[in-house]
Symmetry: C2
Subunit: 657 residues, 2 copies
C-alpha cells in the first residue's frame, strides 16, 4: 500500500488541539508576545531568580492566577482553565512555570483544598495577588516518595494552644522546597500530627518561615539548594524547624482537626484513606506537570522539525542535489513517532483536564459542601493522572534529547533553546511523584479494581488486595466495540481487514496486552499474600507491575486519540490524524513486539509488517510534519531558536574554484 495524504490545514487541526479552553490558549499566545516574558539564556542564578520573580509578578498582575481560585478571593473559579493556562506557560520560561506552580498550584492549592474558610479568608487573596509567597514543604531528605513516613512532627501543646513543629534529624529537613531559598514567607509543612502522645499521621500546617524583612523566622533555619541542572530561576531550599510554635488554627483542618483540649477529630476514620484523601490534592499538580512537559516537548519538536526540514546534508549522487535531512528515514524515525505520541499525550491531557474540572467541586461553594474524594470518577482520574504524568514526562525527556541530537552541534547551543528545555524538564520525571513510584501506584490501583478496599491498600508495602473481578481495560471502559466502530466510520479507507492498518487489530493488541499483563500480575501477587517473604514475591514481580502500568497508559493514550479523531470533520485533517494515530499505535506495538511475540500475539511476518508500516507512515506523514507542529500553536517567541527560522539560516552555497 502506498500512502498518500492530501495537505491538511493546521488551523483546523489547531481547533481540535485547543479544545474546550481554546480562549485560555489564545490569551496565552497573546501574552507570549509581551517582551517581559522573552526566554533568555546566560544569566547567573541570582539574576535568573530575580527575573523569574519579576515575571511571576507580571503574571499575577495580568490575572494569570485568578482562574484556579474562588471568586470571593479574586479568583475566577475555573479549574480547567487554570491548568490549561499553566500548560501553555510550559512553552515559555520553564522556571517561571515551576515557580508559578509552586506558588499557586502547590502552596495555594494546599491552602485551598486542605484548608477551610478561616485559611481561605486569611491567605487566598494575598496568594492570588502575590502579596504572600509560600512554599509546599512535603519532601524530606530522607523521605521523598514515601511521604507517609516523613519525620517532621507537629506536636500539640494544649497549655499554649499551639503546635510545636520540629525537625528531629538532618534527614528530616524539608528538601528541594521551591520558594524557600529566597522568596517564601510561609510554608505549608507536612508533618506527623501528635496530640496527647498519640501519632495521627501526616497533616499540613501553615508555618511562617520569614519575617516581613525577609529574614528567617525564629527557630527556622533555611539553606539554599544551590545550582541545579535547570530551573535555576526557582529558589529551592531546605527548611529546618527547631521547635517552631504556631497557633492551633494553622492546622489545615479540612480532613482532621484538633480541639483546644487536644482531642483529635476527623471525618475519615481510616488513617490510610485519610492520608490518600489529603494526597489526592496532588492530582492537580501531576496533571499540570504532564501538561507542562507536553508543551516543552512541542517546542522542541517544532525547533527540530523546522531545522530538519531546511538543513541539507550529503548529495544524492543521481541528481547532485543535497538531501534535506528530514527526508532520511533515520531522521524521520527519530522525530515522527515521537510527534505522534505527543499528539496522543495531548489528547489524553485534554481529557484529564476536563476530568479534573468535572470532579473538582465548585470552588465557590462552602467548604463543607465540597467533597472531591466522593466523586465517583475521582480515583480513576487520580490513577490516570499518575500514569500520564509518568509516561508524558519520560516522553518529554526522551523526545527533547532526540531533538537535541537531531540538530547536531546546533542543538547544543543555548541560543537554540534545546539545552534549556532539556535541563529544565529533566526533573519532571522525578518530582510531583517519582515516575517509577507513580507507575507502581497505577498498577496497584488497577489491581484493586478501584474497589472499596481502599483502606487495605498499603502503598508502602506488598500486602495487596487483588480484585477478583475480570480486568477491564481502558479501551473497554471507553466503549470498546463502540469506539472501534466510530473510528471505522471516521476512517473507513484505512481499515482493510488483515492489514496492520486495521484499527480493529491495533486496538485488540492494546486491549489484550493490558488485560493479560494485569491478570497474570494479579495471579502472581495473590500468591504473595501467603508467602513467607511477601516483599521478595512483590519485588520479583516489580518489572511486571511496571509493565502492566505502562500497558494501561498506552491504552489511555490510544483511546484519547480515537476520541479526538471523531471530533474532526471528514477531510484531509482527519485523514492525517488517522495516519498519525496509526503511527502512534504501530510504533507502540513495534516497541513492545518482543512481548507480543512472547504471548503468541504477533507472528514473525506480522511483526516485520509492523516495522514496515512504521517506515511507510513516517514517509507519508513527513511532508506534513510542519503542518502538524504548526497546529500546536507554539508562539513564535517560544520558538526562539535561530535554527528554527530557515530564512535566517545561511545558505550552503556552492564551490566556485
Amino acid at each position: 500500500m502506498t500512502h498518500t495524504l492530501d495537505a491538511a490545514d493546521s488551523g483546523i487541526l489547531r481547533d481540535v488541539l485547543d479544545g474546550r479552553w481554546a480562549d485560555v490558549r489564545r490569551e496565552a499566545r497573546e501574552l507570549a508576545k509581551d517582551p517581559r516574558f522573552t526566554v533568555e539564556v546566560g544569566q547567573d542564578t541570582e539574576e535568573q531568580r530575580a527575573r523569574t520573580f519579576e515575571r511571576l509578578a507580571a503574571l499575577a498582575e495580568g490575572g494569570y492566577a485568578r482562574l484556579g481560585f474562588p471568586t470571593r478571593y479574586g479568583g475566577a473559579n475555573d479549574v480547567g482553565g487554570s491548568i490549561t493556562a499553566f500548560e501553555m506557560q510550559g512553552m515559555g520560561d520553564l522556571s517561571l512555570l515551576v515557580k508559578a506552580g509552586v506558588q499557586w498550584g502547590l502552596f495555594g492549592g494546599a491552602i485551598l483544598h486542605l484548608g477551610t474558610e478561616r485559611h481561605h479568608e486569611k491567605y487566598l487573596a494575598d496568594i492570588v495577588s502575590l502579596d504572600l509567597l509560600g512554599c509546599f514543604a512535603m519532601t524530606e531528605t530522607g523521605h521523598g516518595s514515601d511521604v507517609a513516613n516523613v519525620r517532621t512532627t507537629a506536636t500539640f501543646d494544649p497549655d499554649t494552644d499551639e503546635f510545636v513543629v520540629t525537625t528531629p534529624s538532618t534527614s528530616a529537613r524539608k528538601e528541594y522546597i521551591g520558594n524557600a531559598a529566597r522568596d517564601g514567607r510561609v510554608a505549608v509543612v507536612f508533618a506527623q500530627l501528635v496530640t496527647g502522645g498519640e501519632l495521627h499521621g501526616v497533616h499540613a500546617f501553615v508555618v511562617p518561615i520569614r519575617d516581613a524583612d525577609g529574614n528567617p523566622a525564629p527557630n527556622v533555619r533555611i539553606e539554599d539548594c544551590g545550582l541545579k541542572a535547570g530551573l535555576n530561576g526557582v529558589d529551592n531550599g531546605r527548611l529546618y524547624f527547631d521547635d517552631v510554635r504556631i497557633p492551633r488554627d494553622n492546622l489545615l483542618n479540612r480532613y482532621a482537626d484538633v480541639a483546644a483540649d487536644g482531642s483529635y477529630t476527623t471525618p475519615i476514620e481510616n488513617k490510610t484513606a485519610r492520608f490518600f484523601t489529603m494526597l489526592g490534592t496532588l492530582v492537580q499538580g501531576r496533571i499540570s506537570v504532564a501538561g507542562g512537559a507536553g508543551s516543552a516537548t512541542k517546542v522542541a519538536l517544532a525547533i527540530a522539525l523546522r531545522y530538519g526540514n531546511s538543513r541539507k546534508q550529503f548529495e544524492n549522487p543521481a541528481t547532485g542535489d543535497e538531501i534535506t535531512v528530514l527526508d532520511y528515514l533515520g531522521h524521520q524515525r527519530k522525530l515522527l513517532p515521537a510527534l505522534a505520541k505527543t499528539y496522543a499525550l495531548h489528547f489524553a491531557q485534554l481529557e484529564l483536564v476536563a476530568g479534573l474540572d468535572e470532579t473538582t467541586p465548585d470552588l465557590d461553594l462552602p467548604v463543607a459542601e465540597q467533597h472531591p474524594a466522593e466523586h465517583p470518577d475521582r480515583r480513576e482520574l487520580e490513577t490516570r493522572a499518575a500514569g500520564v504524568k509518568a509516561i508524558g514526562t519520560w516522553h518529554a525527556t526522551a523526545t527533547i534529547q532526540a531533538c537535541r541530537e537531531a540538530c547536531g552541534g546546533a542543538g547544543y547551543l543555548a541560543e537554540n533553546r534545546l539545552p534549556g528545555l532539556k535541563a529544565d524538564t529533566d526533573v519532571f520525571t522525578t518530582f510531583e511523584g517519582d515516575n517509577t513510584v507513580l507507575l507502581q501506584l497505577v498498577a496497584k490501583e488497577l489491581l484493586t479494581g478501584y474497589s472499596e478496599h481502599f483502606g487495605n491498600l498499603d502503598l508502602r508495602g506488598t500486602a495487596l488486595f487483588v480484585a477478583d473481578q475480570v480486568v477491564e481495560t481502558v479501551i473497554e471502559r471507553a466503549g470498546g466495540r463502540r469506539l472501534l466502530q466510530r473510528l471505522r466510520d471516521a476512517a473507513p479507507s484505512r481499515s482493510d481487514e488483515g492489514s496492520v492498518f486495521d484499527h480493529d487489530w491495533q486496538i485488540s493488541m492494546f486491549t489484550h496486552r493490558e488485560k493479560h499483563m494485569l491478570e497474570s500480575l494479579a495471579m502472581r501477587l495473590r500468591r504473595a499474600m501467603d508467602a513467607d517473604d511477601q516483599f521478595a514475591v512483590f519485588n520479583a514481580a516489580q518489572d511486571h507491575l511496571l509493565g502492566a502500568a505502562r500497558a494501561h497508559v498506552d491504552g489511555v493514550l490510544l483511546a484519547a486519540f480515537v476520541h479526538a479523531i471523531e471530533q474532526v470533520p471528514a477531510g484531509p485533517e482527519r485523514d492525517l490524524l488517522v495516519s498519525l494515530c496509526d503511527l502512534y499505535a504501530l510504533s507502540t506495538i513495534e516497541a513492545e513486539r518482543g512481548w507480543f511475540a512472547e504471548h503468541g500475539m504477533l507472528t514473525a511476518n506480522r511483526s516485520k509488517a509492523v516495522i514496515a508500516a512504521v517506515n511507510e507512515l513516517c514517509g507519508a506523514i513527513r511532508p506534513q510534519a510542519l503542518t502538524l507542529v504548526d497546529a500546536f500553536g507554539v508562539p513564535d517567541s517560544a520558538i526562539a531558536a535561530p535554527i528554527a527560522w530557515p530564512e535566517d539560516v545561511p545558505e550552503a552555497g556552492g564551490i566556485n574554484p
Copy 2:
C-alpha cells in the same frame, strides 16, 4: 537456578580493568588529588573558560601532553598512553578534557599526522608546552557530517607563492570550533584546495587567527558560539576568512603538495582514498571520545550505586525495616545492565587503544617512513572505533540520565555532579562524527568487506560496492569456536547446555544476528545498484543499515568481554565477571528479542527465560555492585557528590511522638 557469588576483590578486578597502561592510570589518580583540578560548579562562562585555561596550563606543566608526541619535540612517543591519560581525565573536569583534546588531540594531532617535518619543527614543541594554542577548523555551519563538501576554499596564488583562504558564504563559516572564541592563535583549516583553476578536494592548512596580543589576525573574523548545554569551559567560536593569505608552506603536505609553479602532486591518486586517508587521523579522536564517555559513565554509576546502596525508602511490612532502594528490582534494572555494558565497553576500549598503538607508526621515525593507512588492521580499527564511539556515547547519555533519575531530586542538584556529567557529555553523541552517520559508515565498511574497492565507496551517497563474500562476524574473526572454548574453560559451571546461561547459545545469538542483518542488507542494497532511484532504495533500508551496525558493535563488545575474562585468574573475581558478561549478553538479547523472534531464533518460552535470567542476574550481582564500581578506580575527588558518601548522608531516624 539460584545464583550466588562469592565476594570478589575490587583490587584484582581493577588490575584487569587497568590493563596495559596501568601506570598511566595510577599517575592520573594521583594527579586527581591535586586541588587545582577539583571539579567546581556554579561559575559563569568567562570564569569557567579562565579556569579551564589555567588547568590546561597545569596539565601541560605536569607533562600530560608529552605522551602522544615524538621524543624530539618534548614528547614521549606513547600513543596508547596518551589515549589512556585522556580517558582518565574524563573522570574529572570535562571542559578540561575537551579543551585538552582540541589542543593536543585534534590540533596537535593534525599537525603531527597531516604535516611533515617542517611543520613539526615549527609547531610541535610549542604545542606540547602550550606556548601555541590552536584550533581544528573542520566543521562548517552548512556542512558538518559531510566534510567532503565543505565550502571554504584555499586557492593557490603562484604570483605570491601563497594560498588564499576564503569563506565564500555565511554557511561556510567554521562552526563550533574549540579554542576559537578566546585562546587559539592558529587554526588547522580544512578547505577545498584549488590550484590552476582545478579543485583537488579537502586539505588542511595552518592559518593564523590571532596576533600575539590576542586580536583577530587581518581578514579573520571571529564570533563566540556563546553559552552551550555544557562544556562551557571550552571557548567554541566561529571563524570567517576574508581572503586570508598564508604561505604555501602552511599546507599540511603529508598526503599532497603544491609546488611553487602551482602543480599538484600526491602519493594517493584516488581522490576518495586520499580524503579518507586524511580523515583516518580522526580515529584517534573517536577513540578518545569513547574513552572519555566511558569515564563519565563510570563516575555517574559510582555516584548512583553508592547512593542507591545507602538510601532507604518504604518499609517492608513484614519486618518494619526500611528497604534499601538498590534492593528493588526496578532500581537494579535501571543501573546493573548499564554497569555490565560499561564493563563491556571498557574492555572494547582497551582493545581499541592497543590497536591504535599498534597501527600507529613509531612517531620518532622520519615522516616518509610512517604509513599508518598501510597497516593491514588499520581500516578495521577505524570502523570499530566509529562503532564503539557511537554505541559508547549513546550509552553514556542513557546511563547518566538513568543515574540522574535513580537519584531523584538529589540527582538534579549540581553539587551531586550528575547534572554536569550529563550536560558535558551530551554533545559526545554528535561531535567527532555524528553517531548515526558513524553507524552508517560502519555498515558500509562491513558491506565492502574491507575490500580493495575503497575508491568506489561513496560516503555521500548510495552507490555501494557490496562484497560478494560471505559475511564474517566479529566473533568469528576473533576466533569463534576457539573463543567459546576458552570461555567454557574459564567458566564451566555456568555453561549448562540448553539454558540461556549457556555461552555457546549466547554467542551464537550475537553471531547469527550480525550475519543475518548484514547478508540481508547486502541483498537489499545490491538491488539498489540497478534501481532508478538509488537514494530511495538506500533510504528505505536505512534503519536496517543502522541495525546491522549496532549488531556488529554488540558483537565487538561481547568478544572483548570474553577476551578480558580469560585474563582473570580463577576465583570469585572471574565468577563475578562471567555473571556480568552474562548480564551484558542477556540484556542485549532481551533488548533485541523482537528481532530474534521475527527471525525464528527465539521461542516465546525462551524469550521469557531471558527476561527471568536478567532479573536473576540483577539480584545475584547486586551485593557486589559497589565492588564492581570500586574496581573502576574513580578518584575520590571525582566522586565529588555528597550523596555518594553515605557517612555524610543524614540518617533517617525514627519518629518519637
